[in-house]
């Protein structure tokens, strides 16, 4: 059953990644603007024909994101004055900062419970809007980087406003409508009700919550955002009612990240380069899904042994194995929605989830972010390979010179630095004491929080009280730097690559579409992550599980 479940997902993704990738390619490379889009450009006041240098593109990304953070912050602080607030108070300042940053950075870390903190309007017109545009920003930046590889002697990497608009209007909105309709058929709620009061069979009271859930659920997974409408996210029967909606949600969160390498292959004119990237993603992803499932099903640990299964924090309708598949998929993409509670996973199963995020969200990663992250790793790999065999480092016809490798190395270093410094700061300042569990598990909880925030995943090990000014501020900073510093470096790299003239492949060029190269990228990724994080992992999940 478990194997069939995973195989069916692989088959569905293999079937869809090509047509969807081709469609995405046509969207980002199209010459013509539709009438709706021309209308939007007029409303925004931008000239869609004007291409931008990497610096201008980056400033547009940052301006859009800065305005988004301020807008969302104000929205959360003023929600009590707005329609459909359900009588909730304004969100506290440090919480509003954290949530605004969280949704704008595509992290969707949540310190709050949706059902007891936020009104319907702020969920749909505040948070869900960022679910769309933060996903579009990720894809836009990835496309700009690919343009850097595809173009030569060019000063420009595209127009941010055009990319943002097209990806939202032509890709994310129509796919979300489709995804939401499927979810509604499965039983996901979609209404504006404040709730239905019922009397239970034994005479108790129960308040059945309402809300525009299906519309948010669709983009939450499709855009690898992960912020649940309710506190318990995709474990909630109103977000994920059946075993097959669970399958559908896993499919949604994987489908765009696995289709984007096709866009890369098409844009650089060598489809096989895209295949190599997909192969790296798939190798890491399958290994991780297999490990997570194996650890959970074997149920190692005192409490799972006493229970007879690692069923704490998991739903009967998903069982242990379908829960584990969701957990692996949500941490491998930077989604962070959960259908079961990672804190109660076996020590090693939870450890794999932690490593999934530590990989830097590249297997397949968040929408866009996964592709640019993996291209950075490919650049580092050709550099390492060049050093080993004395070949000139080149990747898809571009020389990897000192500027390029400096940008790539800096990119790789940012998230680990944030994770390790953040974790150390929590312990140094005593803020780790809000963890529910003591000992190695407590360290895992703190480490998981910083890993999730810095890599823009947003899933939580929970079991950690993060609704304090220190935690909300620190994690907000990690999310902000972990998202935008890499984006600036990626765009700088795009600019540097676009300026180069193409280097024709020579006998000295390392072929980057062969299994050998795929294996090398996987190896470099795993080795880099192991070197960076093994000491921290040894004190947390490894100490607990071995």
């Amino acid at each position: 059953m478990t194997v069939l479940f995973i195989v069916s997902l692989v088959v569905a993704l293999a079937a869809v990644h090509r047509p969807l990738g081709d469609y995405l390619y046509r969207v980002v490379c199209a010459e013509r603007h539709s009438r709706v889009e021309r209308g939007i450009y007029r409303l925004i006041g931008v000239n869609p024909a004007a291409e931008q240098s990497w610096g201008v593109y980056a400033r547009a990304v940052l301006a859009f994101s800065a305005v988004s953070v301020l807008f969302l912050y104000a929205f959360l602080r003023l929600q009590n004055h707005l329609w459909l607030s359900l009588g909730f108070d304004p969100v506290v300042a440090h919480g509003a900062w954290n949530t605004a940053v969280s949704f704008v950075t595509n992290t969707n870390w949540q310190w709050y419970s949706g059902e007891s903190t936020l009104g319907h309007l702020v969920q749909m017109a505040g948070l869900a809007v960022q679910n769309f545009v933060s996903a579009a920003v990720g894809i836009a930046v990835a496309v700009a980087l690919v343009r850097g590889f595809a173009r030569s002697r060019a000063g420009a990497v595209g127009n941010f406003w055009v990319d943002l608009t097209r990806i939202t209007v032509r890709v994310l909105l129509p796919l979300s409508v489709l995804a939401a309709l499927v979810l509604m058929i499965g039983g996901v709620v979609q209404n504006l009700s404040a709730g239905t009061e019922i009397t239970t069979l034994t005479g108790g009271d129960q308040s059945i919550t309402g809300g525009p859930v299906a519309s948010q659920e669709a983009i939450k997974n499709l855009g690898t955002n992960g912020g649940g409408f309710y506190n318990v996210n995709s474990a909630h029967p109103f977000e994920n009612p059946t075993a097959w909606t669970n399958w559908w949600e896993i499919f949604l969160l994987l489908v765009i990240p696995f289709s984007l390498p096709r866009v890369f292959g098409r844009m650089v004119g060598q489809v096989r380069q895209g295949h190599a990237i997909v192969a790296v993603m798939a190798t890491l992803a399958l290994a991780s899904v297999a490990l997570t499932t194996a650890f959970e099903v074997s149920g190692h640990g005192t409490v799972p042994q006493a229970v007879g299964a690692a069923l704490e924090g998991k739903e009967v309708r998903f069982d242990v194995s379908n829960s584990a598949t969701f957990a692996a998929a949500t941490t491998l993409t930077s989604t962070g929605s959960v259908n079961s509670f990672h804190d109660s996973y076996t020590a090693l199963g939870g450890g794999v989830l932690l490593v999934n995020m530590m990989l830097g969200e590249v297997a397949p990663g968040g929408v866009g972010a996964g592709l640019y992250g993996l291209l950075i790793l490919a650049v580092i790999t050709v550099f390492v390979a060049g050093l080993m065999v004395g070949r000139t480092p080149e990747y898809v016809g571009k020389k990897i010179g000192s500027r390029e490798i400096k940008l790539a190395s800096l990119y790789f270093l940012i998230p680990p630095a944030l994770v390790l410094i953040g974790t150390a700061a929590a312990f140094a300042t005593g803020n780790h004491r809000t963890a529910l569990n003591a000992g190695p598990h407590g360290l895992s909880e703190v480490l998981y929080a910083f890993t999730s925030a810095s890599n823009n995943n947003g899933s939580a090990f929970a079991g950690l009280t993060v609704n304090t000014p220190w935690w909300n501020t620190a994690l907000g900073l990690c999310m902000l730097v972990g998202r935008f510093a890499p984006i600036i470096l990626v765009l700088a790299l795009a600019g540097a690559l676009a300026r180069q003239q193409p280097t024709p492949a020579s006998p000295g060029t390392l072929p980057t579409h062969r299994p050998l190269f795929v294996g090398m990228v996987v190896g470099v990724t795993v080795v880099l992550v192991a070197l960076t994080f093994l000491p921290a992992l040894a004190l947390g999940p490894l100490a607990e599980g071995l």
Partner: protein, 293 residues
């Protein structure tokens, strides 16, 4: 007049955000709300509410507690899984326990408000309670007969390697009897409230005991779900409860068994998820078919 570039960027950004808020934040969800009014979809979009005699009695997707005002199980109903949502199955306060796999030592403080049961003790206590309610063997591995985690704090001379000098059963306090009389030749003491034996240098040793490897009480009966609203129990837990429910309602167990079978859903398409029994629907059917005496 030309605006400075940075200001032009931010103005464009603000206008873009407002356009997308109108599109993705208002038009998109409201269109779907409107679609959700269509016949056939409306019930589901509203939360799959079940009405009994024209009165909303629950949602087919959201579990309920079948307990009385004091939290005791009402024996004529099938019982749901344990829940960490508020006081149990509270949709305004969903949640999981978030306790880890090695959470085995209770915090026993002198002030009961600061005490906390470990996940292991919660599992053991639930297993024992279900065993008593349904008259089956409630024993589990790593659990004491009185329903707490069977865990020892072992002190050795010289830290980790020397001979055992003192052993405490960390989850048992007076007037309980230690679940083992001796360990490595040292008598086992009961725990004193307010003591942290781990911090005092002891090694924590869970003791497997002689409980059957496959306990009579199923796994879902002793674990809280992720949402705290899980509407399902396993088929095994439902079958375990049949004799009690039949007895309480004075009906033939075979008839109740048939009702359970009717409400057991298999795996979707044969390979997705797990078989389960929707407890709310089952109990509603039970009330309808065999009204309580």
């Amino acid at each position: 007049m030309r605006l400075p570039t940075w200001l032009a960027h931010h103005l464009a950004a603000l206008r873009a955000l407002l356009v997308f808020t109108a599109l993705a934040g208002i038009a998109y969800p409201l269109t779907l709300v409107a679609v959700g009014r269509l016949p056939g979809l409306a019930d589901r979009a509203d939360g799959s509410i079940i009405e009994v005699d024209g009165r909303a009695a629950g949602s087919a997707l959201i579990g309920q507690s079948f307990t009385d005002a004091d939290g005791r199980a009402v024996p004529r109903y099938f019982q749901s899984r344990p829940s960490a949502a508020g006081d149990g199955y509270d949709p305004t306060s969903t949640g999981a326990t978030n306790l880890g796999p090695e959470d085995v030592v209770d915090v026993i403080a002198t002030d009961p408000d600061e005490s906390r049961q470990s996940l292991l003790t919660q599992v053991c206590a639930r297993s024992r309670a279900v065993g008593e309610l349904d008259r089956v063997d409630g024993r589990r591995p790593y659990c004491t007969a009185d329903g707490v985690g069977a865990v020892l704090a072992v002190f050795r001379a010289g830290g980790l390697t020397g001979p055992v000098v003192r052993v405490v059963s960390v989850n048992q306090t007076a007037p309980a009897t230690p679940f083992l009389t001796g360990y490595a030749g040292v008598p086992v003491e009961l725990a004193q409230p307010g003591q942290d034996y781990r911090a005092a240098g002891a090694t924590i040793v869970p003791v497997r005991g002689d409980a059957p490897a496959v306990p009579a009480v199923p796994a879902d009966a002793v674990t809280a779900s992720g949402s705290g609203l899980d509407p399902h129990i396993s088929a095994a837990y439902a079958r375990l409860q049949v004799p009690r429910v039949a007895r309480e309602r004075g009906v033939d167990p075979a008839a109740v068994e048939r009702l359970v079978d009717e409400h057991t859903t298999g795996r979707t398409l044969g390979f997705m998820g797990a078989p389960g029994v929707n407890v709310v629907e089952l109990n509603l059917a039970l009330d309808e078919t065999f009204p309580p005496r």
